[in-house]
């Protein structure tokens, strides 16, 4: 009897020992600036309780180059190479956005053919952006094969871009009031071949990821943003649409010839990483549709506006006509001179609303050139999306918001 009591008391003691609060500490670790998940340079200061994230801070600015200041010190046209380096995966959209903003300031309406070509290059850039993003999501979750399939697709898209402007990454193709050059010969056939292969690769990646149980488990219900939160944080683009808000600049404020195109805006339900993935996968299809429609309907005609004070005339004219030489001299040396005023113009970038806010004081240089980068608000919402989840969830979430250092830090 007494032995039984003794045993009971021992067991009770033991139980109180294991339920006693253990002394644990939070671990603070630096993810980045050079960590495999922080493609583009960014740093997370993560406070961990075991593997659970207690506190998450984002430090940006490692890729700050002073984009806005550089624009102010150059002529209006000289900002184009800088815009290439904003979102370097879809540099054409940045070119188009900046050109459209300046044209709005001046009041230029570009020729039809120019508008169609701008739509084509924008959508090709969006394709390259989405291909890269979805590919990287596979890579970071360990699915290296899916990554390389979409990298092949992106490479084919870059072949197309290279045939247009000669560069794969830093295009510098669009000009104020026009384009550097027309589409190359046989572009339509080349595009058809590339899209055929891209669709095959799309199906392959869809098979590898979309119904893959492990991939689903990793991305579903991770990084959820409700529509209200997403709007409050200033989300735009695929991430906002994944939260169920059908906002797309191409539909909300159609620019160029998007109002004549037949395409759909995919939206998600939950706003988790899986919805973001699905939205991007569907947008790849829609972008290919837009390019095909644009190539079918593209009219012949000039690609540059006939306003010699803003857009150079052809070299033939410059070499043979005295007025053209004078305009050429004035625009090259002093720059074009938009009227005084300010303007904001937004295009739908790969990550969302890419806005340019320009102020002109009537001189040849921008007085102010401010960019609204779509991934800055997305990056700002990282702590909200990952706090309380596991450290492994940082990986798909950070990939799906697609923070591009060049664009976010400028």
């Amino acid at each position: 009897m007494s032995y039984g009591l003794f045993l009971m008391s021992r067991v009770c003691n033991f139980m109180s020992d294991i339920t006693k609060e253990l002394h644990t500490e939070h671990m603070v670790i630096n993810m980045g600036p050079s960590h495999p998940v922080t493609h583009g340079t960014v740093k997370f200061v993560v406070t961990l309780d075991g593997e659970t994230i207690v506190n998450f801070e984002v430090e940006i600015g490692y890729l700050h180059r002073g984009f806005e200041k550089m624009c102010e010190s150059g002529l209006w046209e000289q900002a184009f190479p800088y815009t290439d380096r904003l979102n370097y995966v879809s540099s054409m959209i940045n070119n188009v956005g900046y050109a459209l903003a300046v044209e709005k300031l001046i009041g230029i309406d570009t020729p039809e053919r120019c508008k169609y070509i701008r739509v084509i290059v924008s959508e090709l850039s969006r394709l390259s952006d989405h291909f890269t993003n979805v590919a990287a999501s596979g890579l970071e979750l360990g699915a290296f094969t899916a990554f390389l399939y979409f990298v092949e697709a992106r490479d084919l898209i870059w072949d197309l871009l290279e045939s247009i402007c000669g560069a794969r990454l830093t295009s510098n193709y669009v000009r104020i009031g026009g384009l550097k050059n027309d589409l190359p010969e046989g572009f339509k056939g080349h595009t058809a071949r590339v899209f055929k292969r891209c669709r095959e690769l799309w199906i392959d990646v869809d098979k590898l990821l979309t119904k893959n149980r492990i991939f689903l488990d990793r991305v579903r219900d991770v990084g959820i943003m409700s529509p209200d939160d997403a709007i409050a944080y200033g989300f735009t683009g695929p991430c906002l649409r994944a939260s169920g808000v059908p906002y797309d600049v191409r539909k909300a404020q159609p620019y160029l010839v998007y109002d004549r195109m037949d395409f759909e805006i995919p939206i998600g339900e939950k706003g988790d990483n899986f919805d973001r993935y699905l939205v991007r996968m569907e947008e790849i299809n829609q972008s290919m549709r837009i390019v095909e429609q644009a190539l079918d309907n593209i009219p012949d005609g000039p690609i540059n506006v006939d306003m010699p004070e803003y857009r150079w005339q052809s070299k033939d004219d410059i070499y043979t006509k005295i007025e053209s030489v004078i305009f050429h001299f004035k625009t090259v040396v002093e720059g074009i001179k938009p009227p005084e005023g300010e303007v904001y113009f937004a295009v739908e970038g790969g990550n969302g609303e890419l806005g340019f806010y320009l102020v002109s004081n009537g001189s040849g240089k921008p007085y102010k050139c401010r960019v609204r980068p779509p991934c800055f608000p997305l990056t700002a919402a990282m702590p909200k999306m990952v706090t309380g989840s596991l450290i492994a969830d940082v990986v798909p979430t950070f990939d799906m918001i697609n923070m591009i250092g060049g664009e976010c830090d400028r």
């Binding site: 671990m27 670790i29 960590h35 495999p36 998940v37 593997e51 596979g138 890579l139 970071e140 979750l141 360990g142 699915a143 290296f144 094969t145 899916a146 390389l148 399939y149 092949e152 590898l208 990821l209 893959n212 492990i214 991939f215 488990d217 990793r218 596991l390 450290i391 492994a392 969830d393 940082v394 990986v395």
Partner: protein
């Protein structure tokens, strides 16, 4: 006596040579080439000697030379002794475990019985499990002694993962042991001469469970959580360089070979060719005389065994290059809530069938 000694030394040298000299370096090449084939790439083809690239086969040599000449870096604040010891502790069990796996049957040549296994233990499977679980010490020690948060997280993950999957793996094997009634791997191998008595037919669930658990034990995708490079840099071997790094790397490949060996022995009929019994082989080779025929049968069996091993390695690599990786908690859930109950059910059903 001397014949026994020669036989033992020859077997050890053979297995050591095949594993360390052939499989471990060549697997690095195979992994690169196979992933390249799966991903529409060319793969490793740059390393050359006087312009001969040998379809990239020189890359293991180049890698070894490069890693040998790298600085052997020990981070400040690391425990030097344990940091150095860890890769050895990981590599040794991976090498030893193969010693009880038979790569052929028993043969009578010139009056001398040759048993093609280095150590024919009557607790063969238990021996393998004992040594497989030893390698975890190297991992934990390496992660802990590196004085690095990433390594530490990797070590924690590795210990949790390997401990929990060892349970399910052990239970997945029990069905096989019940069916064949022996722990001795040579017995289990010998009992699979009939094609329809292969473990994969008698224990299909056990086979799948064992493959899943073994992949987890080997820490390869989809179970490479302890070294998930996008999450925790490189996990427990973040701070390793030079030959110590390659020792972890080799341990992984050796474990892969060992796993392939165990699967072959337990489930894929060991050294037997389907539908062809040893007697048929003997009569086939009867032109070479009694001893010559036995030697030929022995060589055929060894070749069969290693062909099966190569197939299983190919299978593991295909998995590795197809799937993404699990999350830590999902993997633990899979181990404890799905694989463990399944293996228990498997044991129960096997017992029921045996009883009836």
């Amino acid at each position: 006596m001397i014949a026994d000694l020669i036989e033992a030394v020859a077997k050890i040298l053979f297995i050591f040579g095949v594993n360390m000299g052939f499989f471990a370096p060549v697997l690095g090449w195979v992994e690169r080439k196979q992933s390249a084939v799966m991903q529409d790439r060319v793969g490793a083809n740059r390393a050359d000697i006087f312009g001969f690239t040998l379809i990239g086969l020189l890359h293991p040599v180049a890698d070894t030379i490069k890693l040998l000449t790298k600085e052997d870096f020990i981070p400040a604040g690391a425990n030097k002794l344990f940091h150095t010891l860890a890769p050895f502790i990981t590599l040794t069990p991976a090498l030893i475990a193969f010693s009880v796996i038979p790569f052929g049957g028993q043969y009578e040549i010139y009056g001398h019985t040759i048993n093609l296994v280095i150590a024919d233990l009557d607790v063969g499977i238990l021996f393998i499990f004992a040594f497989a679980s030893l390698s975890i010490y190297g991992v934990v020690l390496g992660g802990w002694s590196s004085n690095n948060n990433w390594s530490f997280l990797g070590a924690m993950r590795a210990s949790a993962q390997m401990l929990s999957y060892e349970v399910a793996m052990g239970l997945a094997i029990i069905g096989v042991i019940m069916v064949y009634g022996s722990l001795r791997l040579t017995d289990i191998g010998a009992m699979q001469e009939n094609f329809f008595k292969w473990g994969i037919f008698l224990q299909p669930i056990g086979f799948i469970l064992f493959i899943a658990c073994a992949t987890a034990e080997n820490k390869r995708i989809p179970f490479d959580i302890p070294e998930a490079e996008t999450e925790i840099v490189a996990g427990y071997f973040t701070e390793y360089s030079s030959m110590k790094f390659i020792m972890f790397w080799m341990a992984e490949f050796l474990e892969m070979i060992t796993i392939a060996g165990i699967i072959t022995t337990l489930f894929l009929g060991a050294w037997h060719i389907p539908f062809i019994s040893s007697k048929m082989l003997l009569s086939l080779f009867s032109f070479a005389g009694a001893n010559g025929a036995t030697i030929l049968v022995m060589l055929t069996n060894i070749a069969t065994f290693f062909t099966k091993i190569i197939f299983m390695i190919w299978f593991q690599m295909t998995i590795r290059w197809t799937l993404p990786r699990f999350r830590y908690d999902q993997m633990m859930k899979l181990g404890w809530k799905i694989l463990l109950p399944l293996s228990l059910i498997n044991i129960f059903i096997t017992g029921l069938v045996l009883l009836l």
